[in-house]
Amino acid sequence: MTKTLLSIIFIFILTHISPTITKAVDPDEFLQDPKLELRARKISKNIRCLVCQNQSIDESSAALAKDLRILIRNKIKGGYTNDEIYIFLTDRYGDFILLKPSFKFSTSALWSLPFIFLIFGIFVIFQHNKKSNKIIK
């Protein structure tokens, strides 16, 4: 019983607490204005680290991730809007750099296919149920 409890606590620490400890943002990168810092963090969380690919630059300790975090903060200080920063980055690295790509023609399949599959799945289940009901009757 204690072993199970300890395992649960360990898994909880691994999955919930350690990611916050290993946040890659260095204290010297922080902007003094908390509002601007919050904006920088929000943008960084949506920017893919192109070295690690499955991490955002907010989580990644790769050198490029740090360079991009600094660049984003400098752009914010320079008066850039969030959209202008996203455009700056996608112009250079493509839509792949966004962890949540914007909806446009080239990304339409990415956004619409899950819904199409969902509708299709519901249709298949509905048809299957209809058939089984008939057999029961």
Partner: protein
């Protein structure tokens, strides 16, 4: 009609499965990202040059002859191996090679080039990776082929090696077509 309906989902499922397997076994390498700059003009930027300490203005440097832009650093091991092939290309006198010294120590770079040989006509200092970001670079070495009209025609991620040298040279020739 009813039979058709029950077969259709299975066919669709297998088609999706097939496309996933195709992507798995095809040559697609997810670590090699396509450049957004292909067939576009070179980014506009300014930089300080190494050795002669002059200002490099991109609008004045591209658009006259075929140019290679090579991002390198002394701390990057594949860059050492690549240097042999860059020197081979430079010796042909068919193109200009601009080196971008990415996040490096300038003194160390000068020493390094004296020791191993310098294939570059100009070397730009990119100590904070801003030129790299402007070109969409995410790891070095990376080499861009810019044609005589100042248009980026090809990007090589990774070093020029014995294996890809001939193919890369063909790309240089093709950039002017």
């Amino acid at each position: 009609m009813k039979k058709k309906l029950s077969i259709f989902p299975s066919i669709l499922f297998f088609l999706i499965l097939l496309s996933f397997f195709y992507l798995l076994i095809s040559d697609r390498n997810p670590s090699k990202l396509p450049s957004t700059f292909i067939d576009k003009p070179v980014p506009i930027f300014k930089a300080k040059t190494l050795i002669d300490n002059k200002t490099f203005i991109s609008t004045e440097e591209f658009g006259q002859e075929t140019t290679l832009v090579n991002f390198f650093a002394t701390w990057c091991k594949p860059c050492v191996e690549e240097l042999v092939f860059l020197k081979k290309l430079a010796s042909k006198n068919e193109l200009k090679i601009i080196g971008v010294n990415y996040k490096d120590n300038s003194n160390k770079t000068v020493k390094w080039l004296k020791e191993l040989g310098n294939p570059y006509s100009k070397i730009l200092i990119d100590s904070n990776a801003l030129i790299g970001i402007d070109w969409g670079v995410y790891g070095i070495p990376e080499t861009f082929i810019v044609n005589s009209k100042g248009i980026i025609k090809y990007r090589l991620i990774g070093p020029i090696t014995e294996k890809n040298y001939d193919e890369f040279y063909v790309k240089i020739k093709e950039s002017e077509k």
